[in-house]
Amino acid sequence: MMRVTAPELEIAVLVLGMVILMVEAFAAKINKRALAFAAIAGLAIVLIASFFVAPLPSPNQATGFWSFYTADRLSIFFKQFALLTTILVLIMMIDYAPVVRRSFPGAQDGVGEFFAIPIFTCAGLMYLVSAIDFVFIFVSLELVTISFYVLVSFTRRNPITLEAGTKYLVLSTVSTAFLVYGIAWIFGVTGQTSLYRITQALANSDVDRGVTLLGMVFVLVALGFNIAAVPFQIWVPDVYQGAPTPVTAYLSVGSKAAGFVVLLRVLLPFLTLPQTQRLIVLIALLTLIYGNLAALPQANLKRLLAYSSIAHAGYLLIGVVCFDVRAVTFYLVAYLLMTLLSFAVLIIVAQQTGEEISDFDGLAKRSPFLAFAMLVAMVSLAGVPFTAGFLGKFYIFYAAVLQRQIMLVVVGVLTVGCGFYYYLKVVRAMYWQSTTNLTKIPVNGLSRLAISALVIATIWLGVYPQPIFDALKR
C-alpha cells in the first residue's frame, strides 16, 4: 500500500501550482480552461491521497520540522477541507472566466494565473492548519494573504474591485503588523514561539501574565481580521462585494476556516488566563449582533453574504468560547457547503442579471434547479432542520447550554430570528416576485454536478452528521 505523509501533500500542491504557472507562461496557445481542469484534477488526486495519510498524535517534545508542523487529525481534516474548497472555487472560476476575460480587453492574459494562484493559496491554508509555532503560523498566513492580494484585485479595471483590493491590502498589512507585534511580546516574556512550549512557560508562575495577555490580544486582532470578527470586520462588506465572486467565496470559506483552526490552536495556551474567555465572549456577542443587524437592510446579495459571513463568525465564536472543537468543525463544514452553494448559484445568475436580490426575482420560473439550490442554501444558512446548517447551530447551542453561557445563548437565539428574515428575503425574491424576463438560465455540466453534490451533501449532513465526527475521531 502506498504510504503518504502529510508534508508531501503540501509539496504536491505547490509543485502542481508551479507546473500550471509554467505551462501557462510558456505554452501561450493552450486553452486556459484546460489549465483549470488540470488544476482541479491535480487537487482531486491530492485530496484522494490525503485519505491515506495516517494522522500522527501531536509530538510534544519533537525537534526540527515536527516542532512547528503537526499532522494530527484536526490538521488532516482541514487540509482536506482546504482542498475541497479550492476545487469548488476553481469550478466556480471556470464559470466566472468570461467576466475576468472581459476586464482584460484585447487579450486573454491573466486568466491563466486566475486558475493558478488559488493553488498556492490552498498550499498556504494547508500549512496554516498544521502550524503549531508562531513563526510558521506567520509564514503560512502570509502565503495565504499575499496570494489573496492578487486574487482580490484581479479584475483591476473595475473601480470597485480596485477599491476592494486596496482596502484588503492595507488592512491586511495592518493586521499582519499586529500579529508580528503580538508574537514579539509573547516571545519577549516566554522566550518561546512554539505553542506547546508557551503553554509550559505560562504554567510557570513567575511569567508576567499581563504582558502575555497583551501579546495575546494583539494576536487576536490579527486572527479577528481573518475570521471577520467585530470590531475587525470593517473590510469585509466592501472587499466581499468588490472582489471577483469566486474569490469572495474563497475568502469567506477558506480563509475563515483556517483562521478558526489557528484560533483554536493559539488560544489553547492562554485558556488558563481567565480574561481570555471573557474577551472572546465579548467579541462573539458583538460579532453576532453586528453581523445579523447589519445584514437586515442589505439589497445586494454579495454584500448580504458578507454580513452573513460575519454573523456566522459569531456563531463559530460561541463554539470557540466553549472550546468545542467538534462543534466548530462541524459548523465550518456546514458553512462550507451552504456558502459555496450560494456563491455558485450567485455566479451563474449574476452573469445573466445582476448581484442585487431583486435580480433574483422570479428565478423559480427561469431556472427551478438554481432556485431550489439557492433555497436549500438559504434555508441551511438560516438554520432549518434537515440541513447541515441547522445541525451546526444545534451543536454550537448544545455546547453553549452545557457551559451555561446564558448571554451568548439569548443573543444567539434572537439573532437566529434576524437571520430568518434576511435569508428568506432571497427566497421571497425567487418564489414570490414575478419577472417579465422569462429566458432560461443555462448551467454547464460541471457546475450542475457541483451544485447538485452540494445540495445533496447539505441535506445528507443535516440528517446524518456522523461521517464528520468519525473523520475527526479516526
Binding site: 441547522f390 447550554v401 434572537l414 440528517v463 456522523q466 465526527f469
Partner: protein, 492 residues
C-alpha cells in the same frame, strides 16, 4: 405502516415538485394516508401500554440519537386529525392560478411534517419534522395569500423560528439535565429515567419554562399570540386549515408528550403562571374576538382563544382534564378547519369577508350555510359535537383539581372564568353567523353560486368526525387515558 403515513405526503410533494400532476397526486396521497391511518386506528390495541408499530434507525450511537417512529393512543389521535384535515385541505384547494405544483407540494410538506412530528419517538426528529412546515407556510402565505400577506408571512415565520429555537434550547437543556448514562433522545428512555428520579427539580423549573415559552409561541399562548390571527386571515384557506387545525396543535401535543411526563416538578412550579396566561387567552383574546369586523380575523382570533381551554386541561394535570384536552385538540382542529374552509369558499366568491358587506348568504348557498352552522355550533360547544365532550371533561377535571371544602382555589376560579369564555364564544360565533348568513341579501351577491357538489365530501367528512367523536368520545378516551394514567400516577 407508520413510516408510510409519514413519508407518503412527503414523497408525493417531491413528485409534484418534479412534475407529477399536482392535484391528482396530492389528493391520491392524502386519501391513501388517511386510509392507512384508519387501518391503524382499526387495528390499534387499546389495552397495550406504550408505543406500537415502532421502527428505529440508528443515526448516532454516541448521542443516542436515532430515527424512531411509533404511535401510542395520544399520537394516533393526532395523526388521525392531521390526515383528516389534510384530505379536506387538499380537496378544498381546487385549482390554483400561479405555480399550482408548488402550492400542493407546500401543503403536503406541512402535512408530512406534522405527521412526522406526531409519530416521532425521538426528540430530535420530533422537533425537526415540525420545522419542515416552516418554509412552506412562509411560501403559502407569501405567494398565495390575500390582504396584508407580506407582513403576515414575515411575522409568522420569524415568530415561529424564534419560538422553535427557544424550544430547541429547552430540549437541549432537558437532554443535558440527565446524568450521562441516562442521556438519550428517545422519549421512552427519558420517561424511564424520570421515573428513577434522574432529573433534579430545579433543572425542571428552567426546562419547563423554556418549553412553555417555546411551545407557547407555537400554539399562540397569550401574550405570544399576535402572529396567529393575521397569518390565518391572510393565508389561503387550505393553509389556514392545516396550520390552525393541525400544525399549531404540535405545541399542545409537545406539552402533553414532554412536559407532563418528563418535567412534572417544573409543571407544578409554573402552574400559576400558566393559569394566568391561559385566562389571557380565554378572556382577553375572547373579548378581542368579539370586536372583530371581518370573518377571517374573527376565526383567527377564535382559534387563539380556544387554545386557552386546552391549556387549562394541560395545566390542571388530572387524567380527566388532560384526556379532555386531547379530545378538544381533535375537535377544535376539525371544527376550525371546517370554518376556514367555508370562509375560504366565501372569499373566493365574494372577494371580501367584512361583516358589513356580507349577509343573507344562507339563502343563496344553503349548503355552505349549513356546514358553517355545524362548525359554529361545534366551536361554541353544543352537546353532540366533539368540542362539548372535550370542554366538559376539561372543566370537570380542572374544577376538581385541588378542590377542598374550605373554598375556591386557583383552579376553581380559573374554571369559573373559563366558563364565561363559553358565553364569549357564543356571542362572537352567533354574531358572525348572523351577519354572514342571515338577514337580507345585498344585490351584488345575488348571482353567487353554491359550493360544488364534490365539495360535500370533505364537508361531510369533517362534520362526521365532529359528530362521531361527540357521541362516542369514549373511543378516544380509551386510547389516551392509559397513557396519562401512567404519566400522572408515576409522578405523584
Amino acid at each position: 405502516m407508520v413510516l408510510f403515513i409519514i413519508f407518503c405526503p412527503i414523497v408525493a410533494a417531491v413528485l409534484i415538485m418534479v412534475g407529477a400532476p399536482a392535484r391528482k397526486t396530492a389528493l391520491t396521497a392524502s386519501v391513501l394516508t388517511f386510509a392507512a391511518t384508519l387501518y391503524l386506528l382499526a387495528t390499534f390495541g387499546d389495552g397495550e401500554h406504550g408505543f406500537q408499530h415502532v421502527t428505529s434507525f440508528t443515526i448516532s450511537p454516541e448521542w443516542r440519537l436515532s430515527f424512531t417512529t411509533g404511535i401510542d393512543g395520544l399520537s394516533l389521535i393526532m395523526v388521525v386529525l392531521a390526515t383528516i384535515v389534510t384530505v379536506a385541505a387538499v380537496w378544498f384547494a381546487g385549482t390554483v392560478e400561479r405555480y399550482e405544483n408548488a402550492f400542493y407540494a407546500c401543503l403536503l410538506f406541512i402535512s408530512g411534517g406534522a405527521i412526522g412530528a406526531f409519530a416521532s419517538i425521538d426528540l430530535f426528529f420530533f422537533y425537526a419534522f415540525h420545522e419542515l412546515a416552516l418554509i412552506p407556510t412562509f411560501l403559502l402565505i407569501g405567494i398565495w395569500g390575500s390582504g396584508n400577506r407580506v407582513a403576515a408571512a414575515w411575522k409568522i415565520t420569524i415568530y415561529l423560528a424564534i419560538g422553535s429555537f427557544i424550544l430547541l434550547l429547552g430540549l437541549i437543556l432537558l437532554y443535558q439535565s440527565f446524568p450521562p448514562a441516562f442521556r438519550s433522545f428517545d422519549i421512552r428512555r427519558l420517561t424511564v429515567a424520570v421515573s428513577l428520579g434522574q432529573i433534579p427539580a430545579d433543572a425542571q423549573h428552567h426546562i419547563y419554562l423554556l418549553l412553555l415559552i417555546g411551545f407557547g409561541i407555537l400554539v399562540s399562548l397569550f401574550p405570544f399570540h399576535t402572529w396567529a390571527p393575521e397569518a390565518y386571515a391572510s393565508a389561503p384557506a387550505s393553509a389556514a386549515m392545516l396550520h390552525a387545525g393541525v400544525l399549531k396543535k404540535f405545541g399542545l401535543y409537545g406539552l402533553l408528550r414532554l412536559a407532563i411526563p418528563l418535567v412534572p416538578e417544573g409543571a407544578r412550579h409554573w402552574t400559576t403562571l400558566l393559569v394566568v396566561l391561559l385566562l389571557g387567552n380565554i378572556i382577553y383574546v375572547g373579548l378581542v374576538t368579539i370586536a372583530q369586523k371581518r370573518l377571517d380575523w374573527m376565526l383567527g382570533y377564535s382559534s387563539v382563544m380556544h387554545m386557552g381551554y386546552i391549556f387549562l386541561g394541560i395545566a390542571s394535570a388530572t387524567i380527566l382534564a388532560t384526556t379532555g384536552a386531547v379530545v378538544l385538540i381533535f375537535a377544535h382542529g376539525v371544527s376550525i378547519a371546517l370554518l376556514f374552509a367555508i370562509a375560504g369558499e366565501l372569499r373566493r366568491r365574494t372577494g371580501t369577508l367584512a361583516f358589513d358587506e356580507l349577509g343573507g348568504l344562507a339563502r343563496i348557498m344553503p349548503f355552505a350555510g349549513l356546514a358553517f352552522g355545524f362548525g359554529v355550533f361545534a366551536a361554541i360547544g353544543l352537546p353532540g359535537f366533539a368540542n362539548f365532550a372535550g370542554e366538559i371533561m376539561i372543566f370537570f377535571g380542572a374544577f376538581k383539581h385541588g378542590w377542598t371544602m374550605d373554598g375556591f382555589h386557583i383552579f376553581q376560579i380559573a374554571t369559573v372564568l373559563a366558563l364565561w369564555g363559553v358565553v364569549i364564544s357564543t356571542v362572537y360565533m352567533l354574531r358572525a353567523y348572523r351577519k354572514t348568513f342571515m338577514g337580507t341579501v345585498s344585490e351584488q351577491w345575488k348571482q353567487l353560486v353554491e359550493l360544488r357538489p364534490t365539495l360535500r365530501v370533505p364537508v361531510t367528512l369533517l362534520v362526521g368526525a365532529l359528530i362521531c367523536c361527540g357521541f362516542f368520545p369514549q373511543t378516544f378516551v380509551r386510547m389516551v387515558a392509559p397513557t396519562f394514567r401512567t404519566y400522572l400516577t408515576a409522578n405523584r
